[in-house]
């Protein structure tokens, strides 16, 4: 009736999450300039995807559930994009009070 993942898959995902946690701690100690945070976020997104697809089983859910799950992150990107687009460009006009 519904998909049952093997225990082996769960152990593999668990091990991957542990390795990626060590990776994120290790990379944080290296000075990569402006790239530190984007790389840390890339690792975090990878970990989140592993949890969502396998632990939460979205990989085996219906297309409708997949779209709904993805929509949250789409709206999040709109929130970040539009807000930062506002704040980061406010200085461009040079008008007092803007």
């Amino acid at each position: 009736m519904s998909h049952v993942s093997s225990k082996g898959l769960y152990y593999t995902i668990f091990a991957s999450l542990c390795v990626l946690t060590v990776v994120t701690v290790a990379i944080a100690r290296v000075d990569l300039g402006a790239m530190n945070t984007p790389i840390a976020l890339a690792v975090a997104v990878t970990k989140a995807m592993l949890v969502i697809l396998f632990f939460m089983g979205v990989k085996y859910n219906t297309p409708l559930t997949k779209v709904v799950a993805a929509s949250g992150f789409v709206w999040l990107i709109i929130l970040f994009g539009v807000t930062m687009g506002d704040y980061l460009t406010r200085g461009w006009l040079g008008v007092p009070g803007r």
Binding site: M1, S2, V4, S5, K7, Y10, Y11, I13, F14, L17, C18, T21, T24, V25, A28, R29, V30, D31, L32, N36, T37, A40, L41, V43, A44, K47, A48, V51, I52, F54, F55, M56, N61, T62, L64, T65, V68, A69, S71, G72, F73, W75, L76, L79, F80, T83, M84, Y87, L88
Partner: protein, 223 residues
């Protein structure tokens, strides 16, 4: 011209857990999973507002963010990250045990998940206590020698981790309810919806921490 018992032999008896507005158990489970995801999307946006504030103020006060972050205990944060990952594994195994109707495995994995979730909160208690001792809590007693902008960092630290911890407490309450249901033989291959939905919630709370750990604890480590 009567037609008695017209339904009696045409259909199997419905599953006792099947609510009348669903066609079958599979549709009922699918609807619950979809509904839970709609709720989780609202949770993403709820935490998203705080992450938005983090991003904006970090852009405005980058030095305060680095100095604030370096006051956090990276080891405790890292240990808690691993503790939550273990708890997500045991949660996934508990849901799987419900899917295959293995009652003892459900009970064992639920208890382990409760234990790891509690360890996380206990570690968080010691971290918070240290912040109070070091005058890092925003407000009248914030260390006056520090840049006041660091209060923004610590405000967001307490808000994000505090609301995350609140979600953990709610999750542990849900786990106890699942434990009671598992104990009473409520879950089997045909019906495990509450366990599945509780699992989705618990994994979501883990995902929030996966982002909080690098963004709060690790941003100043290369300086």
């Amino acid at each position: 011209m009567s037609a008695p018992n017209v339904h009696s032999d045409a259909h199997q008896a419905p599953h006792p857990k099947l609510q009348h507005h669903f066609h079958n158990m599979a549709q009922q489970l699918e609807a619950s999973i979809l509904g839970m995801w709609v709720f989780l999307v609202t949770e993403v946006m709820f935490f998203g507002g705080m992450f938005m504030a983090y991003l904006l103020y970090r852009t405005m006060y980058p030095d305060a963010w680095l100095a604030g972050s370096n006051e956090l205990n990276e080891v405790l944060g890292g240990v808690n990250t691993l503790v939550l990952i273990v708890s997500s594994l045991t949660m996934a195994l508990a849901v799987r045990a419900a899917q295959v109707g293995a009652r003892m495995a459900q009970i064992a994995n639920l208890i382990l998940t409760i234990i790891f979730g509690s360890i996380f909160l206990i570690v968080k208690y010691f971290e918070y206590a240290a912040k109070f001792e070091h005058h890092l809590v925003p407000g009248a007693h914030f260390d006056p020698a520090r840049d006041p902008a660091q209060q923004l960092y610590f405000s967001l630290y307490f808000m994000l981790t505090g609301i995350h911890a609140l979600h953990m407490i709610v999750g542990i309450v849900l786990l106890f309810i699942m434990l009671r249901m598992a104990w009473k033989h409520q879950f089997n291959a045909d019906y495990f919806t509450p366990m599945e939905v509780t699992g989705l919630y618990w994994h979501f709370v883990d995902i929030v921490w996966i982002f909080l750990f690098p963004l709060l604890y690790l941003i100043g480590k290369h300086h």
